[in-house]
Symmetry: C2
Subunit: 193 residues, 2 copies
């Protein structure tokens, strides 16, 4: 088993911020990237996106900008945010265990929240993946495999069963941490071993 499991969805700006920091936090520990469907998690856990509370959404916008500044990473929101990420999440599930996985994740997150691009538009996604040296057509075809769809669903169900209610959620063994603002606790848990 990996030292650290990182459950994420491309629709979550907090997951993007965490993704930019996870290698630093892992500090050489093995990271298992676990793509899950946040919408499915919300539904199963009886949770909802924080932006459903308007005042919370307004605060969060400022809060995420403060974190991005602290991390020194860009943060932009695509037109149409929140995006429907089912298709790109299936792409991630299609690449699990493959060398292309991390370049794909970095390309998609960089496009969505680094530059505010709407990757639900096929031509935008095609260009983004092509620029990253990936094969958009092959990935998006694989994303339609029933086995891939089932795997993504299974990971989502596993997450819910283990107590996940939002994203990002990080496990160090059985210890669960919710939020990109808990990475220091994750680092401490890893240091304890």
């Amino acid at each position: 088993m990996a030292d650290l499991e990182f459950f994420f969805d491309f629709g979550s700006p907090a997951s993007y911020l965490a993704a930019t920091q996870i290698d630093r936090v892992a500090n050489g520990a093995e990271v298992a990237w676990r793509p899950m469907l946040l919408g499915g998690v919300f539904k199963a856990a009886g949770n909802a996106s924080p932006v459903m509370v308007p005042a919370k959404g307004r605060w969060m916008f400022h809060d995420l900008r403060r974190w991005a500044k602290r991390y020194d990473v860009p943060l932009r929101f695509p037109d149409g945010f929140p995006l429907n990420t089912l298709h790109v999440m299936r792409g991630a599930a299609a690449l699990e265990g493959k060398a292309e996985f991390r370049p794909y994740v970095d390309a998609v997150y960089g496009a969505v929240f680094g530059r505010g691009e709407n990757i639900t538009e096929p031509e935008v996604l095609g260009r983004v993946l092509g620029d990253a040296g990936l094969e958009p057509q092959a990935i998006m075809t694989a994303a339609q495999d029933q086995a891939v769809k089932d795997r993504l669903k299974a990971t989502t169900e596993e997450a819910v069963k283990r107590g996940v209610f939002g994203a990002p959620t990080i496990f160090v063994g059985d210890e669960m941490h919710f939020g990109q603002d808990r990475l220091d606790f994750v680092a401490e848990a890893l240091a304890r071993g």
Copy 2:
């Protein structure tokens, strides 16, 4: 105007944790303690206690313990948590601007979340306040004044108007920070002046 405004409710364990740290964070800056009714805030903002999402409540229990350990402060939950804090919040509103305010707040928070005492029981509250050198009877009589009730309601309405949706919420000027886990941002905002 105070350098920092601290909006709180005695029912919120995160507000208790923040209260134990606020003097350190303020580092000499003036703190205005602003008692508000969290239930009223939730209702007006369309928000709800995080424990309404069971998985979130379970995670938060562990998360708050980790923070308490980091802060090196005790954290216990009273039987019957969450408590109805209307009466003790009115007590805080009755003491606003008075020398007894801070001893009262520290006594109530210390009882509720430091030792897990149920201060909705009048004899428990009486003992807790008496032990702190306060006059329980006088405070609880003052808490029934219509002007005190109105003030607490007005502060709650002001909070909502300014964007508050939960507790604790801290303002440095117009900059709003939500949560005991944002105290470092508060310290940075104060340092910027």
